[in-house]
Symmetry: C2
Subunit: 451 residues, 2 copies
């Protein structure tokens, strides 16, 4: 693609058309034979679905991601708790898009967007990637409410390296406890605090409790891993606030049955190497895990767009950015209201629906078809799992908990895992763990593991 | 175990008895009810077999390893080349020894041995682990012939973190080549030099060639991964010097069929970020992998014992250390001559045989039985594999190459993998790769992957 070609962007109105209008002026007036360039930032659920939905459109798709793999984030907590291998829930983006002839993949970090020249800036020697349409699906990271210094002692869980680092911490804590001579220190080493009672916090707490009380219970000679304390700390009045109150209560009881101590109405004021402090009271713990909040990628800054408190870009009903009808923001870095006045939740199905919607909006616009109706999120169900045999599921029309919810949760996650190989590998790992109570991935690797 | 108990070591002769003698003075004169303490340093093939062979002996076994897992090193190159997940070839030591009631595991790094007080020193706050018998199976690391500065540019392959770091380098090289604008730099990025033509070097070269020419071939749009150069550089006159000449030649032909350039009689004089230099001639490459030599753990220093050039302790015919009849050194950190004048090779079966032998020697001595005959290595066969459908196998009485050798190699490695789960996982990965030519573990993770 030549430099001249890069600038051959059509003149188009900067107003956002409303649903039903034919956006006549918006169809790029391209030279015959030159394809509309669609750049997608991020190959998470939203970005990947958008790319795949454009497979048959007369466009050139460029997917930019700073990592080379798509991550099935809903199961990342199982990597962190030694249940799955990273490769079980991650798939190379190039592999997924291999047979999509109109797609290319660039592994790079996006640093800015030049809306004037219609280019995405990447960190690869100041290279610029030209676009006609831009879909930003850059996701979110965990946030520390302005206390970034807590990250060093209370790691969060967003990428594979987070998960292996957390696995490292959890397993090393047991090893250190085994050789500790001071009983106080041993107690601190065997106390695990999880901050945040959302699905990630609940699932991690359940998995750590199972690891300690089932998997490791016969592995040590000095300590009794079953005596480990797992404490889930939530600032609000209940866990799983996105679920109905009845299911929150059931989730709490399931956690307590596993031996997890659930502390609600307990906002954390301080995290340090010795534990957390809430309401002036200290809980001593050597392992603190953060599942309390997320912060969107700095998309609003790139676009000088309006954002909410979590940094998510406030998008138009068709998921474009006000004043930039060719730029769409989807998934965890966007916020859009549903008809009921509630924002679309930051879950994988919502991101996928947004990706598919935006791909259709763009394809329609290129084809000169009338404007689509605004994006509408369809909630097919909401899951959270709490260890073996326990989960809660909210399908709107029916609410489930216990064994049946757990089976459905397992089936749904296997089904949505990308790639036949990954599905098989996860099923194998799970069946093995189910039968033996063992976890196959109890490896202490990574930084410091050889010291 | 009280501090007093630690010192209650029996008085015993420091001479090494010869085979056939009853080592009367050597049986520890312990108080009734107190068990003989056997400390094993290292849970590789040798150490683990020794620990397991002592399961029914009236002893207390303590296994010390600085990592929490036993590693099936013969398949480590497949982790480095994205064929297997780390957890497929690693198994937690505690899990392996869980049901062995007389065994405990300490995760720590050994820093020295106090032969006077009969204690092993570990890095855990200067703790000391008392022993009556000591088995050292601490293994080896790669060595750079006095050029340790080469390690930064030419990493070797001994532990899981090495393998994931090498995988990271290989995959990032292709990514960088895809976005490189300078054709010279692209060429350098697509050149992979493997230094050392032993089994590890041969297997890595074959696997990288397959990765480039089969797995990745459709994944990129700008570069042609099949154009990657894979160069195996060996200082001696042939690859696989431990094999008969005929099999060396066959291995070389198999490599060349895969597109690997094999350079023999090419000792490397320099490694830097831009490539390697041999005989004053530079081969430009951004990825250099080291498979050229190993250096034993500093066991000889701990014991003030005689060592060979690779740092291996020269042990007695019964694998004990001269003047220290209760200390045994086995596996890659020991060297012992066979009846034919050749040293026992540094391979997994030799380490396992040594571990089993030493366990019997100790059990016999405790039981007051006559001295065992000297250690004798039984060579049941020697394998090296060169990608899909090609391997060489030397069983002494018969030599095989090609498809049959490759099948035998696969079966043998599956068989010897510890743990049913790992066997299943590896079989699944292999079958998947065989049918699809894909590699499931193409993840760029670890240090720098998020930058």
């Amino acid at each position: 693609m030549s430099e001249t070609a890069l600038r051959a962007t059509p003149d188009r109105s900067r107003t956002t058309p409303t649903a039903g209008e034919v956006p006549a002026g918006l169809a790029p007036a391209r030279a015959p034979g030159s394809r509309v360039r669609i750049v997608i930032v991020g190959a998470g659920f939203g970005g990947l679905v958008a790319a795949q939905a454009l497979a048959k459109a007369p466009v050139q798709v460029t997917v930019i991601d700073r990592r080379n793999y798509h991550l099935f984030q809903p199961l990342l907590y199982q990597v962190a708790t030694a249940g799955l291998s990273p490769a079980d829930i991650a798939s190379p983006i190039r592999g997924i898009l291999r047979h999509q002839a109109n797609a290319e993949v660039i592994m790079a970090r996006v640093t800015d967007v030049d809306r004037e020249r219609r280019e995405v800036l990447i960190d690869d020697g100041g290279r610029r990637i030209p676009y006609d349409y831009l879909i930003i699906a850059a996701g979110a990271r965990h946030a520390y409410f302005g206390h970034d210094e807590w990250e060093a002692v209370a790691p969060g869980l967003k990428k594979i390296d987070d998960a292996t680092a957390i696995r490292h911490r959890i397993l090393v804590a047991f090893e250190k406890a085994e050789t500790a001579t001071d009983p106080e220190e041993r107690r601190r080493l065997l106390t695990f605090v999880i901050v945040g009672g959302g699905p990630t916090g609940v699932e991690m707490a359940g998995a750590i409790a199972e690891l300690a009380k089932k998997t490791l219970v016969k592995d040590f000679r000095t300590i009794d891993p079953a005596s480990a304390r797992v404490i889930l700390v939530e600032g609000g009045p209940r866990v799983l606030t996105a679920f109905p109150e009845g299911l929150s209560a059931k989730a709490r009881r399931s956690l307590e049955k596993l031996g997890v101590e659930v502390l609600t109405n307990t906002p954390v004021e301080l995290c340090d190497a010795a534990g957390v402090v809430s309401a002036g009271k200290r809980i001593e713990a050597r392992t603190i895990l953060w599942a309390a909040g997320v912060q969107a990628a700095p998309v609003a800054k790139w676009l000088e767009a309006e954002k909410d408190r979590a940094g998510r870009v406030k998008v138009e009903p068709n998921l474009s950015v006000a004043g930039n009808p060719d730029i769409f923001v989807i998934g965890d870095c966007a916020t859009v209201l549903q008809a009921n006045g509630q924002p679309v939740p930051g879950v994988a199905p919502a991101a996928k629906q947004m990706g598919a919607y935006v791909a259709r909006v763009i394809a329609d616009r290129i084809a000169g078809k009338p404007m689509r109706a605004p994006f509408r999120y369809r909630n097919y169900g909401n899951f959270a799992t709490i260890g073996r045999h326990a989960a809660v599921a909210d399908f709107g029309w029916i609410r489930l908990s216990g064994y049946l919810a757990w089976l459905l949760w397992g089936a749904a996650h296997i089904y949505f895992l990308i790639g036949f190989r990954n599905r098989l590998a996860v099923m194998l790992d799970w069946m093995w763990a189910y039968v033996t109570y063992q976890r196959g991935v109890r490896l202490i690797t990574g930084a410091g593991s050889d010291s």
